[in-house]
């Protein structure tokens, strides 16, 4: 396996979706190539940082509107 193959298989590897044979060769390459080891680690760090995003959400007007819609709906039932 070459480095340019390795970098395309990282997501499949992390999902556990590689065939046994390919996974074997992926790990062999990983053990011998520090550039690709770094690439895999950078991918992991990218995914981790993406998971830390706290999305901004809806406006406070919309929030108030929905809270009162919830209140009204419950009252009507």
């Amino acid at each position: 396996m070459n480095c340019n193959d390795f970098v395309e298989l990282v997501t499949e590897f992390l999902d556990g979706a590689l065939s046994e044979d390919t996974e074997q060769r992926f790990i062999e390459h990983l053990a011998q190539c520090s550039g690709c080891e770094n690439y895999l680690d950078q991918f992991r760090q990218t995914i981790a940082a993406t998971g830390e995003l706290t999305p901004e959400g809806i406006s406070s007007d919309a929030r108030q509107h929905l809270l009162s819609a919830f209140r009204d709906w419950q009252r009507d039932v």
Binding site: A17, D41, T46, T54, P55, L66, L67
Partner: protein, 223 residues
């Protein structure tokens, strides 16, 4: 993924919502709306339109909570309503994002070919000296981590819509591959191609951000 506050388990949430507990409604509203706006942005054309989609979704949730059968998680049920609402709205705005097949630009290498030795050279396909990825040290520091998050948030906004949708579901909202495939009606293989391309683009942005930050920080262990 989860907001700053832990949510109670689904059975508790659903029962409280059915009982009309406003505090619980506010809790799920605040925990999930942000991710929902991001996801809606993949299907509609403006932020306003995405916000309206999220509002319509919550109204449908309020009206439909009594009929929720608990076959999927509550959050998945809510997201499913969102995706359907967003698709319908996107269709009206003629901005649909069909996932059935890959676009030509979504295939092909995700790392610049110039970083690898060319065919015919010794070690063809291996990193060119000086082009191999270097170890990253994303700072623990609170403010700097915030900057990293900003770089990523911006990069996600710039992604093509289909990549953004898959990244948002998998890596921001934390869904597994199966749930994403069923939400988007996409094959596992194609889902992974989009996810991989999206992650590779984000990695590239972070790489150039971090190497810039490194240079500014001034010669810390470049050896």
């Amino acid at each position: 993924m989860a907001g700053p506050r832990e949510l109670p388990p689904d059975e508790v949430l659903v029962q409280r919502l059915r009982d009309g507990d406003e505090e619980t409604f506010a809790l799920v509203l605040d925990s999930w709306s942000g991710g929902m706006v991001r996801l809606a942005m993949s299907f509609v054309s403006t932020k306003d339109s995405a916000e309206e989609t999220v509002q319509d979704t919550w109204l449908a949730v309020i009206r439909g909570i009594d009929g929720f059968e608990g076959r999927a998680s509550l959050k998945t049920w809510v997201y499913r309503i969102l995706v359907n609402t967003a698709k319908a709205r996107g269709a009206k705005e003629s901005r649909t994002v069909p996932f059935a097949s890959l676009l030509p630009e979504e295939e092909g290498p995700t790392v610049d070919a110039e970083r690898f030795r060319a065919t015919g050279e010794p070690y063809a396909g291996h990193w060119v000296a000086g082009q191999e990825p270097r170890p990253w040290h994303i700072p623990e520091d609170h403010v700097l981590r915030g900057e990293v998050r900003e770089v990523i948030a911006e990069a996600i906004d710039e992604l093509p819509p289909r990549l953004r949708t898959v990244i948002t579901l998998r890596d921001v909202a934390g869904y597994g591959s199966e749930e994403v495939c069923s939400l988007l009606e996409i094959s596992p293989g194609n889902q992974r191609v989009l996810l991989h391309r999206g992650r590779a683009l984000l990695r590239r942005k972070l790489e150039s951000y971090l190497s810039g930050a490194h240079d500014i920080a001034g010669g810390r262990g470049r050896a």
